[in-house]
């Protein structure tokens, strides 16, 4: 409607001007006609008035249809076009929320408007989708950014940890050339990055005498791709040497190829020294402790020889007791030495095939004086079963357990049961002694435990035997345990693999 009001004024002015001009022409015509006298006859004046009225009327008749046709065309063409222009301007400003729901004509403009409407609608949809996507992507980006940030923090932490770890950390590439060493490596070994980066450690700061050994180690690493630990001599920049234990881990890519080697090592010179001192102590103890005990034992044996001299029963009794105690002392020293050897992996194990039931029965019979004296019953539930293990060590364990059971059981019976379970076997020794409390059960197999009850005084408990038996059985890939009901019974059992070739 704005357009219409804009049009009306010029049209009106044009029409008014047309009437005025016509009126002036008519008057000039009359003036010419009257030859400038201005004496216009009433007749002429009437004609002129009529002409003017007629003219005005005809002008009106022309003007009105023109006006109406213009106004219609304005309404039907120009207005929608203007609207479309507005709309397109709005679209240009990316205001897609404009309302195009007004009634549109059915003509070409209407069709254009319809297409426009569709386009706006589609644009709106696309816009919404884009916005949604932008929001989603922004969220994702933020998330990623947070992840990267936290990853960076983690990485920083790890880097700090690696940089400042007290262990020496070296990273080698797949060609065994150094690409990284941490701070403690540089500080303790007095090397700078320049000295080590790009170099093969086994040509530079490892002792070369071992080079062939390292070649072997490296071949093994390449083939198995499993981490391994080696001990080697490491040379500092001042040429001093220390022993280090190096844990080498190959790092693989997705194709299972080695891309890096990670070396974590620490100085074990002190440990080695301690180990040597310990071994030396074992050796000295073995000689220095056992020699005097052997001397005592043997002298007592000489005294006990009746062919040399006559002794009273009392004297003999005392000598027997000395002998008994020194023998016990020797056994304890032996057990301690054995434990020490086991712990330092010095106790050698053998493998042989034998029938475990024979071993059991053999030992039970060797103890027969003991159980017959006590009027005990020993029940053996065994069957022939060939196994592969260290016979002597197993004999020792079984003697220890049977001895315990026989020594402490005062009444009734002892039961020994052999069981076979797929790839393993189990031997249980059940006694009817007074049992062991739960607290004491867990302590039983530790090296220097003692059972803290009044019973301790009554029984002669060689706890070391149990600790030693446990170490032995574990070394032979088995397990040993005890179950007990206080005041009722105890079951000591051990289980071992049927066929296990033992090597050291």
């Amino acid at each position: 409607m704005k357009l219409k009001s804009k049009l009306i004024i010029p049209i009106f002015i044009i029409v008014a001007l047309a009437i005025l001009i016509t009126w002036i022409i008519v008057y000039f015509t009359i003036l010419t006609y009257t030859a400038g006298t201005w004496a216009i006859s009433k007749e002429l004046e009437q004609i002129a008035n009529k002409v003017i009225i007629l003219y005005a009327l005809s002008a009106m008749s022309v003007f009105l249809p023109v006006y109406f046709s213009i106004s219609i065309s304005v309404r039907r063409v120009i207005e929608p076009l203007t609207r479309l222009k507005e709309v397109s301007e709005e679209i240009e400003k990316w205001n897609l929320q404009i309302n195009m729901n007004e009634a549109w004509t059915q003509d070409e403009v209407g069709k254009v408007a319809g297409a426009f409407k569709k386009m706006v609608y589609k644009l709106r949809k696309v816009d919404e989708e884009i916005k949604e996507q932008v929001i989603k992507q922004t969220e994702e980006i933020v998330e990623q950014k947070e992840k990267i940030q936290s990853f960076n923090i983690e990485l920083q932490k790890f880097k700090q940890a690696v940089q400042n770890a007290s262990d020496y950390i070296t990273i080698l590439d797949s060609n065994m050339l150094t690409i990284y060493v941490n701070n403690s490596f540089k500080e303790d070994l007095w090397y700078s990055d320049k000295d080590v980066i790009g170099k093969n450690p086994f040509n530079s700061w490892r002792q070369e005498e071992n080079y062939s050994r390292f070649k072997e180690i490296w071949e093994k690493l390449k083939n198995t791709k499993d981490p391994l630990t080696v001990e080697c001599n490491t040379i500092k920049s001042d040429k001093s040497v220390f022993v280090s234990r190096v844990h080498i881990t190959p790092i693989l890519n997705d194709e299972d190829e080695i891309i890096y080697y990670l070396l974590v090592e620490h100085d074990v010179t002190k440990e080695k020294e301690i180990e040597n001192v310990k071994n030396e102590f074992v050796s000295i103890a073995s000689h220095e402790l056992r020699t005097p005990m052997t001397v005592i034992n043997w002298f007592v044996s000489v005294l006990l020889q009746e062919k040399f001299w006559n002794l009273t029963e009392e004297q003999k009794n005392y000598l027997f007791r000395i002998q008994e105690n020194t023998t016990r002392l020797i056994n304890i020293v032996n057990d301690m030495l054995n434990i020490s050897r086991l712990e330092s992996n010095k106790l050698e194990l053998k493998s042989e095939e034998f029938d475990i039931s024979e071993l059991i029965i053999d030992i039970v019979w060797s103890f027969q004086i003991l159980w017959k004296n006590k009027w005990l019953e020993v029940l053996c539930e065994t069957f022939p079963l060939n196994i592969v293990s260290d016979k002597e060590k197993l004999r020792q364990v079984f003697i220890n357990l049977t001895w315990n059971a026989l020594k402490f059981t005062e009444k009734w019976s002892i039961k020994i049961i052999l069981e076979k379970k797929e790839e393993s076997f189990k031997v249980s020794i059940i006694d009817t002694w007074i049992g062991i409390s739960k607290d004491n059960l867990s302590k039983l197999f530790t090296k220097f435990s003692q059972i803290d009850s009044a019973l301790q005084r009554k029984v002669d408990w060689t706890w070391l035997w149990l600790a030693f038996s446990k170490l032995l059985i574990e070394k032979m890939w088995g397990s040993i345990w005890v179950e007990s009901e206080l005041w009722e019974w105890s079951t000591f059992w051990f289980s071992l693999p049927l066929m296990k070739v033992l090597n050291n």
Partner: protein, 129 residues
């Protein structure tokens, strides 16, 4: 048994030395004692024993060295029994590698069984009937 077998005992511990003397004399051996290797060298020549009983831990000379020295004297076919308190397998292996004929661990045996073991060994070697 008419003639006594001569046994040379190389042992630095006087108590054990004395005990060996008691045991082996009781078992009808003629016992010669050497506390160090210098004495032993002269004894080896003078006494010409049928058997040597040797301790491994000696102050001046390591038992292994003694063993090797005895065996390196080519004319010496005298059997050597090592009787030591060292019971680690590595020690035993080392002794056998140094040509010991028998290895006994002192604390593992009563003295009577040590004498028995020695006799058994001599019978095996046909030195003792």
């Amino acid at each position: 048994m008419n003639t006594r077998l001569k046994i040379l005992i190389i042992e630095d511990n006087r108590d054990i030395q004395e005990l060996y003397k008691i045991f082996f004399e009781d078992a009808w051996f003629e016992v010669f004692s050497a506390f160090d290797w210098l004495k032993w060298i002269s004894d080896m020549v003078e006494v010409n024993p049928d058997l040597v009983l040797l301790d491994l831990m000696m102050p001046q000379m390591n038992g292994y060295e003694v063993l090797e020295t005895i065996k390196n004297l080519s004319s010496m076919t005298t059997p050597i029994i090592v009787c030591s308190n060292l019971s680690q397998k590595s020690d035993i292996d080392k002794a056998y590698k140094s040509w010991a004929d028998l290895y006994l661990t002192k604390s593992d045996y009563e003295w009577t069984s040590i004498v028995d073991k020695v006799k058994e060994f001599l019978k095996e070697k046909r030195i003792l009937n």
